[in-house]
């Protein structure tokens, strides 16, 4: 009996102990360069789908990819959801509205800094400390840096899932598909080398495995 009480206490305390965060953090990068800006309507659908899949204490941020994407200024909308369901619903509605406003008024950017956007996403999600970290890249994955921008650095994507969405084929890809395949291969290598998981979803009707 003397041993039983401390054992029960230990069991209860162990059961009550924190098991680490189980929430999800999603950072979505939107390519607004050139003609890809026209694809933003599809991006809005994906954002709404993502919002419907996220719940209490999850984190979601949407940022645009422009000339220099390693900046908080490029974040279009962000939210760390409350743990009360009613507050979460309000946050989701406000988030969806901000994204809709952005899609209506977004301008094309001359350059495409995907690497800077990924770095910003990594910093943001690491700061939030979510249990699961996912970076969605809504882009054709054609990086086009302005002169002077240095993006030759090592990323640390350990514990991150990186999903490329709607990777459209460019005109040049149609002429030489190796460019398209090479682009995908290059990004996959870059992500996996950094310790992350890489996947591509081009069929936007099949987003079930997104989160």
């Amino acid at each position: 009996m003397k041993r039983l009480v401390p054992l029960m206490l230990c069991t209860v305390l162990a059961a009550c102990g924190q098991q680490g965060p189980q929430n999800t953090g999603v950072y979505m990068l939107l390519d607004t360069s050139g003609t890809y800006r026209e694809e933003l309507d599809k991006a809005e659908q994906i954002i709404r789908y993502t919002l419907s899949r996220l719940g209490e204490t999850d984190t979601f941020a949407v940022a645009r990819i422009d000339t220099g994407s390693f900046s908080e200024k490029d974040i279009v909308a962000k939210a760390s959801f409350d743990d009360r369901p009613s507050a979460v619903n309000r946050q989701k509605r406000a988030f969806a509205q901000r994204v809709a406003d952005f899609v209506e008024s977004a301008n094309s950017s001359p350059y495409t800094d995907i690497s800077g956007g990924i770095l910003q996403a990594v910093e943001y999600l690491n700061e939030k400390g979510t249990g699961n970290k996912t970076i969605l890249i809504f882009s054709d994955l054609k990086e086009d840096l302005e002169a002077g921008y240095v993006r030759e650095f090592e990323l640390d994507l350990d514990g991150f899932r990186v999903i490329a969405l709607n990777v459209t084929k460019l005109r040049s890809d149609n002429i030489d598909p190796r460019e398209y395949l090479g682009r995908l291969e290059s990004w996959q290598g870059k992500v996996e080398k950094a310790g992350g998981e890489w996947s591509v979803i081009n069929d936007l009707d099949g987003l079930d495995g997104l989160l």
Partner: protein, 476 residues
């Protein structure tokens, strides 16, 4: 093996040699081996028998214990029933016969009124005019003596007399009418007396019926106290019935509790957060469960305070004043919790609607966000359920008490059956071990059939011992 077959240059000869050696050795050791096998078999037999007896004794003890428990439970239950029956009689006597004095007075008054009315209604004939004879006498004198002046006087007197007679008749008729009215007024009193006497008769009949019930209950109680087998059999049977019925009702109650849980678990996330965990379970779920458990506990205490159940003797033994106070407090807490649940059920509906609207908005389905005009029906139904279920769960105390009491007996019965089966099994094993010993002897003798046959043929001791040994009869 190669070594064994290599003791002679011919393997067959080697094998035969080995067989002869082994059979000889077995034959020489036969008596000792049989004794060892028998000893082992008897040891197993005794061991199993002893274990079987021990288990049978445990089973008897358990049966006796179960019988005592059953009788004690039956006695207690019967005492409660008899006590309640006496309470009812007490109530009847206090309520219906307690005002016997008033009833008696009412009857007396009614009878007195009837007597008075009867007295007053006696028909009194009018007094005959006493002086008529005197007038006649004077009239006769008048005629004899030739005094005609008197005639006029008498005529006047006659007129006055007729008039007085008429007045008397009128008064008489009026008095008669009054008497008839009095007699008519006596009818309600008669009816009241009849009704009162009818009620008294019913009360007495009810008391007589209850006394018959009490006689029957007392007879059963005496049977239980005497520990008669019939009483035990009846109690066992009713205990099993109670067990299954209460288990069924408890299952229904668990279903009710589950619905109650689903009503309040979701909105509870608004109060304690939707993501925090305790021991791997959502805090909101645990909080909802705790509320339901508290409601059930309050229900138990309420039932105990009202002396409907007797799970906690301490509560039953409290002074009446404290007990009533406790009942009021537990009922108030239940009422508050039921109100909280109704509020949470309303909140659930609001949250659900909000979530559906958000989902529809995210899907871009504007039509789905339209407000349903009949939404208030489901909202009201959920609130009603949230308010009623805590009170409904209060009554769980009754089947729970029955379940707990009958469970003791049922577990005892299952234990007795298991012990009885174990005892039988051990007994069978004990007997089987003896037969196995015999079988092992026969199997031992099987390779020795040649020397045993020779022994039988030779009959070396002349007493048939060899034959007995061959057939295994020497064992006994």
């Amino acid at each position: 093996m190669a070594f064994m077959l290599g003791i002679t240059p011919w393997p067959v000869a080697s094998a035969l040699l080995w067989i002869i050696l082994i059979v000889s050795a077995l034959y020489l050791a036969r008596a000792t081996a049989h004794k060892a096998i028998q000893a082992m078999a008897r040891a197993f037999h005794r061991g199993f028998r002893t274990a079987s007896k021990a288990v049978a004794r445990s089973q008897e003890n358990l049966a006796a214990r179960n019988r005592d428990v059953l009788l004690a439970a039956g006695r207690e239950a019967k005492e409660r029933v008899i006590e309640r029956e006496f309470d009812r009689i007490n109530d009847t006597v206090r309520k219906d016969l307690g005002n016997h004095a008033g009833l008696h007075r009412s009857l007396d008054e009614s009878i007195k009124r009837i007597e008075d009315d009867h007295q007053q209604s006696v028909n009194v004939p009018p007094d005959p005019p006493g002086w008529v004879k005197a007038v006649e006498a004077i009239a006769k004198i008048d005629e004899r003596e030739g005094r005609f002046g008197v005639s006029n006087i008498l005529s006047d007197i006659h007129k006055s007399l007729v008039k007085a007679h008429k007045e008397a008749m009128t008064a008489y008729l009026s008095a008669s009418k009054q008497r008839h009215l009095l007699l008519k007024g006596m009818r309600p009193d008669w009816r009241a007396i009849q009704k009162t006497l009818l009620q008294v008769g019913k009360n007495v009949d009810s008391l007589l019926a209850r006394s018959v019930t009490i006689d029957r209950l007392m007879q059963e109680y005496e049977d239980i106290v005497r520990g008669q087998d019939r009483a035990v059999s009846v109690l066992s049977s009713s205990s099993l019935v109670n067990f299954f019925v209460s288990a069924l009702v408890l299952t229904v109650a668990i279903g009710g509790a589950a619905i109650n849980f689903s009503l309040i678990a979701r909105p509870m996330a608004e109060m304690v957060g939707g993501t925090s965990l305790i021991g791997g379970y959502r805090t909101a779920d645990i909080a909802a469960l705790v509320i339901i458990m508290v409601e059930i506990s309050m229900g138990l205490f309420l039932m105990e305070s009202l002396r409907i159940t007797r799970l906690f003797p301490v509560i039953g033994a409290l002074p009446d004043k404290v007990r009533v106070r406790m009942a009021v407090i537990t009922f108030t807490i239940l009422l508050l919790l039921a109100s909280v649940e109704a509020g949470l059920a309303y909140m659930r509906e609001v949250l659900l609607h909000d979530e559906l609207a958000t989902s529809a908005l995210l899907r871009g389905d504007a039509a789905a966000t339209a407000t349903n005009e009949y939404l208030w029906i489901t909202t009201a139904a959920q609130m009603g359920m949230g308010f009623i279920l805590p009170f409904a769960l209060t009554f769980v105390a009754i089947p729970l008490e029955t379940f707990v009491h009958s469970l003791r007996t049922v577990v005892g019965m299952i234990g007795i059956s298991l012990l009885r089966f174990t005892s039988l099994l051990l007994r069978l094993l004990g007997n089987a071990s003896l037969h196995i010993g015999t079988l092992l002897e026969q199997l031992y003798d099987l390779p020795l059939f040649v020397p045993l046959w020779l022994e039988q043929r030779m009959g070396h001791d002349g007493n048939g011992k060899g034959r007995r040994a061959y057939t295994g009869e020497a064992r006994s």
